[in-house]
Amino acid sequence: MIKTIGLNQHFGSVKAVDNVDLHIKKGDVTVIMGGSGSGKTTLLRLIAGLTVPTSGSILFAGEDLAKVGRKRLYELRLQVGMVFQYSALLNSLDVYENVSFPLHEHTDLDESVIRTMVTMKLEQVGLRGFENMMPSQLSGGMAKRVAFARALAMDPQVVFFDEPTSGLDPISAGVVSSLIHDTTAKTRMTSVVVTHDVQAGLDIADHVILLWQGQIIAEGKPASIRQSEDPRVQQFIQGRPNGPIPFSRSDTAYIDDLMHKPGYVRMEQ
């Protein structure tokens, strides 16, 4: 369904995504995990076509997103939905208008048909009856679910989720995770989830990709990730503070900063 070949995204000297080859299978829930700054959101934006890569290819249904024109990209996007980290609901529109937005934009359906479809999508995410509420009146979990309903409005083949459970209480996070899992199973759509919520990620995934410093360090089924002998994988999934993945990201030695850099209190060795 989606394939990347030699994908790179550099910001100056920082390699946010470094030579990534991945294959996302149709009908799977693929979970991309990694710590903060590991490049997972950048990778998601690349495969969603929101960012042009420094180099490499992103093949969506056989077409390279980095090379297609805007018109074709928009045609392909009709098959795609996305749930953003902060929901990204259009805050001047109410829930009904948000969910019906893609239908009003891209179809000539009668308003009664659109209303029926929106009601079905809202029922699917458990928010039927909230049509007239404004985004500012919704809790974080409700806003995520409305964003999910909006992403499903056009019955997409692929839905991208950027940190779908971040900032949610455990119950709301569980609801959102099970919605992703159940909807993917029922509709046979493909889901790509970026998260650092290890437990939720491993629970809903068919395929897991673990990133560190912009590179894939492990991938496979959740069971194989759990049993991986790579110390970086074990440190990440067990949330251990000490291990090969350092807490400090400084390039220079701490003692050098204190002893030799100008502008510091001079310390005797």
Binding site: A48, L50, R77, M82, F84, A88, N91, F101, E105, R150
Partner: protein
């Protein structure tokens, strides 16, 4: 010391030129979407309503008090040289050629321009622009172009309203309060005001509308995606627009003299 100052000035000039170039390219690429499909006609009208109608009250108040002050001040100056009969054209020329377009534009920047920058900045911070992009709706056409066009179309109408209100207020003060002959006031005004004066004011309002639309949308789009970044961009947009309005006013005035 001098070397670092020169370096700082040089870098600032280069950054300024880069920004002007970037804003110009942004303006041209956005305006080139005017005829692109799907046509945003309905959204132009909606933005004109939000931007134009929302600015109406402040424009009427500013126009009324500008006309009243001009009549009051003008009368006390002209009566010293016995030419109070010229009060009408003095008020009308000042309003139509200069104060109408400039003051209306400055008020428009404060009311509508700042809200455009803040709204676009917040849409960026909250990923709403990306959400539109993912829903196959071009945010440059839907969000940015519609606001620029709404500014270009709304400001001339608001300037016309400012002019009418200002002239009427000037008439009330001059004729009803200060006792200038009404026939003379109107006759001299009609006699001294030509089409070139109306064109001058109208041309300015169109350029100001375009300037405000492009600068405010550009600053919103390029705002650092933080709360402080959006606030800073809004302030900078208002300041930049205000200064540019005065500079362009001088340039256009020199062409119409």
């Amino acid at each position: 010391m001098i070397g670092s100052l020169t370096g700082y000035l040089g870098r600032s000039v280069i950054r300024g030129i880069e920004k002007i170039g970037d804003a110009t390219m942004f303006g041209l690429s956005t305006l080139s979407l005017f005829f692109a499909r799907p046509w945003q006609g309905k959204h132009f009208v909606m933005q004109m309503y939000a931007i134009g109608v929302g600015s109406l009250i402040i424009i009427i108040i500013t126009g009324a008090f500008t006309g009243m002050v001009l009549a009051l001040q003008g009368y006390h100056m002209l009566i010293k040289v016995g030419t109070e009969s010229l009060l009408g054209p003095a008020v009308a020329l000042s309003i139509i050629r200069e104060l109408g377009p400039v003051l209306a534009a400055l008020m428009f920047v404060g009311r509508a321009g700042s809200s455009i920058t803040a709204e676009i900045g917040i849409m960026r911070v909250t990923e709403q622009m990306d959400a539109l992009e993912m829903m196959a709706v071009n945010p440059q056409a839907r969000v940015l172009l519609t606001r620029i066009i709404a500014c270009v179309l709304s400001l001339p109408i608001l300037v016309a309203i400012f002019d009418v209100v200002g002239l009427f207020a000037g008439y009330l003060i001059g004729v009803e309060m200060l006792g200038v002959n009404g026939g003379v006031y109107m006759g001299e005004t009609i006699d001294k005001i030509g089409m070139v004066d109306l064109w001058a004011g109208w041309t300015k309002s169109i350029y100001f509308g375009l300037l405000i639309g492009v600068i405010c949308t550009y600053m919103g789009l390029r705002a650092t995606p933080t709360t402080e970044g959006v606030a800073k961009a809004t302030t900078q947009a208002v300041m930049l627009c205000s200064v540019m309005i005065l500079i362009i006013d001088y340039i256009i005035t020199s062409f119409y003299l």
